[in-house]
């Protein structure tokens, strides 16, 4: 069993609030790992630290054998990321967005065109490569972002809520692209989502985070067994409670309403 991503006692504090509190986990090479949790649980903060956008207060991250803090550039070259919110230049064409990415990720010049073509063909956008991104629909933008994250042949792909706000057809097609990448290219997938049935359908391993700590992890079957529930959604609700959380913006002051910080109220 090979480990592509290893996280040791990772912690992030914002002033008086601890968003992520000493979490540790390993992700196996070639697996699909789902990282779940209610809003404000510490998911986005964790993914930001894993992708070197945010500096951890303490803890260690090893990606593809590289220390994400000390060998930042090597770690960065090892992963691809699709951010939760949009990150395309809409005044450029799809192809220009891809080319920009290929250059800043130092893809050799000779391979660039082929790789861009491959990636765009995977998500079915090659024919539309010359269009300005602002003309794209939400689903096409998402697919373009996935294609872009593939151009530098990452070993692990981070997907932060890749299907949020998309119609069922597009969600379906995005998941089938993702599964195919995983099965055919052996690419490790690390994803977050709020759609439990999606996580249940694709994930080999699951970790559930709440209040900055991992409260449960394992395969879907193991989690259902331990929580004595029928589906991942039920297990999730049983573990994290039914209270509605405050959504919050990482980086700003983060807090959930204290009265709601009870777990397992059912």
């Amino acid at each position: 069993m090979q480990i592509i991503l290893s996280v040791q006692s990772l912690t992030k504090k914002f002033e008086d609030f601890t968003a992520v509190n000493g979490i540790s986990f390993d992700v196996e090479t070639g697996s699909i790992f789902a990282f779940l949790g209610p809003n404000g649980a510490g998911k986005s903060t964790t993914i930001k630290m894993l992708t070197t956008v945010l500096k951890p207060t303490s803890g260690e991250i090893m990606i593809n054998g590289f220390n994400a803090l000390k060998e930042q550039d090597k770690a960065r070259a090892s992963f691809g990321i699709v951010f939760q919110d949009r990150s395309l230049d809409e005044e450029l064409t799809a192809y220009e967005n891809m080319e920009y990415h290929a250059v800043i990720y130092k893809v050799p010049r000779k391979e660039r065109e082929d790789r861009i073509r491959q990636a765009l063909e995977i998500v079915g956008l090659w024919e539309r490569r010359g269009d300005y991104v602002e003309k794209y629909s939400g689903g096409m933008k998402r697919r373009l972002e996935i294609a872009r994250a593939l151009v530098h042949y990452p070993k692990i792909l981070f997907l932060d809520e890749p299907t949020v706000g998309l119609d069922p057809q597009t969600r379906n097609s995005i998941w089938s692209h993702i599964k195919r990448l995983n099965e055919e290219k052996g690419m490790t997938i690390f994803l977050t989502t709020h759609y439990m049935e999606e996580a249940e359908a694709v994930a080999d391993q699951i970790a559930i985070i709440d209040h900055g700590r991992i409260i449960e992890s394992g395969t879907v079957e193991e989690i259902k067994k331990r929580t004595e529930t029928e589906s991942l959604e039920e297990a999730f609700l049983k573990l994290t409670g039914r209270d509605i959380r405050d959504d919050n913006v990482p980086g700003n002051k983060m807090r959930t309403i204290r009265g709601m910080r009870r777990r397992g109220r059912y």
Partner: protein, 250 residues
Amino acid sequence: MIEVIYILWLRQLKHYWRSKARLLGSLGQPVLFLVAFGFGFGPMYAKASGGENYMDFLAPGIVSMSILFTAIFSGLEVIWDRQFGFLKETFVAPISRAEIMLGKTLGGASIAMVQGLIVFCLTYVLGFRVPGLRSLGLGLIFMFLIAIFFTGFGLAIASKMKDMHGFQLIMNFLIMPIFFLSGALFPLENLPPAIYFLSRVNPLTYGVDGMRGAFTGISVFGIYNDLAIVGSLSALICMVGAVLFSKIEA
């Protein structure tokens, strides 16, 4: 490294070239200033200075103005990149922040330079003449340095801003004073001490003075002093910008 800088530069030029409205719109102000001030104050200036041509004085000032505004805007464009999420895409790539800073500075400065050259050609139409190739070359160097400095300055400011809310503040309390107290429109003589002091700590003052010296021979501080000051300030702002950039968390 060169390719990374090139693609960052190219992206900015594409934005500039594709936005024709912006291209044309940003020419409106310098043209208006040239015409209104040039013809409005021209006779007064001639009388006060004993027959000098105001256009000779004003043209380098207005060229500086258009470079100043274009450069600052290009620098501040990073704030849009941040709001539209594109900055993150650039920041998680395996490239250094210094490269990003350099690429963006050169991109913004090139746009400002193009804008400055367009205005420079317009001044020709209004009767402004440069004596020879040597003064033209020197003048172009000053234009480029002003462009570099203020793009870097805009980037440094942008690295500290989360969104465009502070834009008016920066425009009215920083950029407009820099412009008005630079000697672009009127000579910096017989001023009250406070204004005199402000004009002397204003980087644009030396840029305008140097460019005017190069193009027309009228210089207060001496062209080579101006060149040394503007040159070292440009290098300094690039370094400061690179440090500030390295601290941004996207």
